[in-house]
Amino acid sequence: MTTTELVAYDDAVARYDPVMGLEVHVELSTVSKMFCGCATVFGAEPNTQTCPVCLGLPGALPVTNKKAVESAIRIGLALNCEIAEWSRFARKNYFYPDMPKNFQTSQYDEPIAFGGHTDVVVDGSTVRVEIERAHMEEDTGKSLHVGGTTGRIHGASHSLVDYNRAGIPLVEIVTRPIEGAGANAPAVARAYVAHLRELLRGLSVSDVRMDQGSLRCDVNLSLRSSPQAPLGTRSETKNVNSLRSVERAVRHEISRQAALLDAGQRVVQETRHWHEDTGMTTSGRSKEQAEDYRYFPEPDLLPIAPERDWVDELRATLPELAAVRRARVQIELGFTDLEMRDVLGAGALPLIEATVAAGASPASARKWWLSELARRANDAGMTLEDLPITPAQVAGVQALVDAGHVNDKLARQVLDGVLAGEGEPEEVVAARGLGVVSDDTALSAAVDRAIEANPDVAAKIRAGKAAAAGALIGAVMKEMRGQADAGRVRELVIEKLT
């Protein structure tokens, strides 16, 4: 591996114009696989969701999953693509142990959907991303390399293959070259993938979990001297599997390629591996070594010729387009552009909407998910969705605050309890004894003691200086170890002294 000094990012984008192409693989959440009846549950025991078809046993034949075709068409429609009247599967031939037939059944020059576009909001302005195509294919198995130190094949003593994933339906969405993003390219890439994730979630066609591999991104990037210059040679960075990594990978490739070009070297057309830990890419296979996939039409499957009526029916089932929906939701929730951006960036919009639907105010829902819960998710290395708390429970915590049963400080402890699996918010309050004291008898006695102990302050209040009440309230709260409703304490103090 040759290491070249990277060019500082700002410097690189000042002198070079980046052009990107993004290829996103979406694992569909169909109940069964693309070409057989096997289940697709994530995390099942290795090789328990297999059959002669997805194991590629001699003699077995594929049968197309109609539900997968339906999902692919809906994705195509949501991306404003044309749906092909006639489309075919093709065989992509190459040898790899995790590919049971040593060819992948995919689509080549006759994809199901092509020629679309989608509008992505980046920093408040809209960028149109042109979609080249969306096509169907099957996933491969998963290799586990044993005996090495890194889990990579290098240095491993042997490998195990899990074919549960083999044959799970994928849709690959390929953009046309994204030009004109300039210094904003990393942000555009990230926003596009985030936008796609939200759109796909809205279609309910995929779990879109980047951490589980149900949404995977390849980043193609090239530089040219100016927007007028011909396209440069591109690199293809594979398996960039988080939003942050997409942004970083684009950034890194820009700096790396700029360094090569500055040094008068050529960018090699090759696949590159992304390394999350170092934030760098390393060289994979170059074009010269690239496989000739010997594509040809899959003779075991009939062409797919979706009836126009069916396509129209599916069009009618499309949920509101993501951009339209987002604009509407922003108005409903009353978020500023900046607030909305943070919410989208954190992937928290669906959670916040659900929390609001469960009764919380938009502001409080946003506050909980973007501060307390975001911090806890970050500490635990989890996504917000992974936190063991539901939007309804978050709304429940806020309801306790609104009713004066807990204050903000106690509410955080209630969250901890819920996250620790201690039950619903009310149960946590009861079990941990966190309820604020709203029993007036106890409070009243405490207020009396505070007045007695602070005659000077009491005199001031009697003289009309209500602002002095703070000192008495503080004393009461201290005595009650925080478990009192400060508002009620204030009321009692004023009542008793005026």
Binding site: P52, G59, R294
Partner: protein, 503 residues
């Protein structure tokens, strides 16, 4: 030899129905015959006496219990070793699958089991069905019962030899370019390649997916029809299977008639390059048809001349991809490369494929890999697909003039083992008359038309019908067979030499 093994499947079915004989007796008679002659014929790669007798006993029990049963209940059958059989070895004639017992049955096999037909064993074939003689079987060739020094045709020579040597009344074959019909021709038996999509390919180890078709092998046209009715029909597990209501082939055979039939003689299939005795028997058979009231029409299919060339691009292309799965990773043979301490998966794949595949298989994989490579695809695979379209159009035009098309099935009678094995092109020419039907997906039948005068060996008569009109083959074939048998004074196979029987 027990008389039971000389009966046709239809006769056995009647005897079983009448209670004159049990399936166990019939099955045992055939197993005995296999034991007596198969060391000389080598029709079988694997015989399953225990399984077959158990299935026979079950068939007998079913007949005793139930009034409503399939016509062929209890009639045993042999299956070409290219169809998967649960728990029974399935090798496709290749070392690379030596020892593999599939965990599932091919749909054809499932239907045989449902029909209560004992499976005697798996028959020999050219490796992955690549060949016209069984000489490319990794387990040694089968021998033609008419002359043990000669080939029984291929790739399904084992099924044809088994039926002609009275080791099985019926067998399943598969036909990619003639592998059912050409063995039928050279062994004096009947073989039918159904319409593409007429019989499920699920569990048929693919050679060329767009050409492969399983079909019946028998000694009479009616027997073939009865077996076709058992194995045919729509299968949701095969996407290319045709979803239609097929008429009864057996009913068509029983109603056999050729009066008023327009018989198209394909100008391009016959004459020059065809053995004199083969051509002579073909022409005599045409006379029989005319005498029975058929009308002869000469038809021309000009693109048939390109069929062989197109076939030898499409077949290897598909085969190179279909055979990629044999990589030692999940099943079958696994060979470690010599002198490599910790071989990679890729090195094991290479060593296994090197050791596990025979020369003809490697030849076709290389050919197909080349034909599909970028830069050559259009010139080879793409061009071949265009020729395929032209051949289909030739068929359409010909069928506008004739109800069926006819030709000699194969250009020669059975050649000697070893005669052509080192000359692939000469070997490929055996299928010159059968290949067009596979390229166009139309059904075809071969039935015996006599013995060539110069060598006394069987010759075959091919009948082709439009797609979906398989029943027409049986109607015409059965009528013609009746006239031929009448002329010979008995079935052609009665003229075959007696095989030396081992005790």
């Amino acid at each position: 030899m027990s008389d039971l093994v000389r009966l046709s499947a239809a006769e056995l079915a009647s005897a079983l129905a009448a209670g004159d004989v049990s399936s166990v007796e019939v099955t045992r008679a055939h197993l005995d015959r296999i034991g007596a002659v198969d060391s000389a014929v080598h029709a079988f790669l694997h015989v399953d006496p225990v399984g077959a007798l158990a299935q026979a006993a079950a068939a007998d029990a079913r007949r005793a219990d139930d009034d409503d049963f399939p016509e062929l209940l209890g009639v045993p059958v042999a299956v070409k070793d290219i169809l998967t059989t649960k728990g029974l070895p399935t090798t496709a004639g290749s070392r690379i699958l030596d020892g593999w017992a599939p965990p599932y049955d091919a749909t054809v096999v499932t239907r045989l089991r449902k029909g209560g037909q004992p499976i005697l064993g798996k028959t020999n074939m050219d490796e992955f069905a690549m060949g016209s003689s069984t000489e490319h079987s990794a387990f040694g060739p089968s021998h033609n019962p008419w002359d043990l020094d000669r080939i029984p045709g291929g790739s399904g020579g084992g099924s044809a030899a088994a039926v002609s040597a009275f080791e099985a009344p019926l067998a399943i074959g598969t036909d990619t370019g003639g592998s059912i019909r050409q063995p039928g021709a050279v062994t004096g038996t009947v073989g039918v390649k159904p319409t593409y999509g007429g019989v499920s390919r699920y569990g048929l180890i693919a050679l060329a997916s767009s050409l492969d078709q399983a079909g019946p092998v028998a000694r009479t046209v009616l027997d073939a029809a009865l077996l076709h009715d058992v194995i045919g029909g729509h299968d949701p597990l095969d996407s290319t299977s045709i979803d239609t209501q097929w008429p009864s082939m057996a009913a068509a055979a029983r109603a056999g008639d050729v009066a008023g039939l327009r018989v198209g003689v394909v100008k391009e299939l016959g004459g020059e390059g065809y053995q004199v005795g083969v051509q002579a028997r073909f022409e005599e058979t045409l006379t029989l048809l005319v005498d029975a009231g058929a009308e002869l029409v000469e038809v021309s299919c000009p693109h048939f001349e390109l069929a062989l060339a197109a076939y030898y691009l499409i077949l290897p292309s598909e085969a190179s991809s279909n055979l990629a799965k044999f990589d030692a990773m999940r099943y079958g043979m696994r060979v470690a490369p010599e002198g490599v301490a910790l071989p990679s998966a890729e090195e094991v794949m290479r060593a296994t494929r090197e050791a596990g595949f025979g020369d003809e298989v490697k030849r076709r994989i290389i050919l197909g890999t080349f034909a599909l490579s970028s830069g050559y695809y259009d010139a080879y695979y793409g061009q071949a697909q265009k020729v395929r379209t032209l051949i289909s159009r030739d068929f359409e035009a010909a069928f506008a003039q004739a109800d069926v098309l006819v030709s000699p099935t194969a250009p020669t009678t059975a050649f000697r083992i070893g005669e052509k094995v080192d000359d692939p092109l000469a070997m490929y020419l055996n299928d010159i008359a059968t290949i067009p039907a596979n390229l166009a997906g139309v059904p075809g039948m071969s039935l015996p038309s006599g013995l060539a005068r110069e060598d006394g060996l069987p010759t075959g008569f091919q009948i082709l019908a439009p797609a979906l009109q398989d029943a027409r083959l049986y109607a015409v074939g059965a009528a013609l067979e009746a006239m031929l048998v009448d002329r010979w004074g008995g079935p052609l196979l009665d003229m075959a030499p007696e095989l030396t029987v081992e005790d």
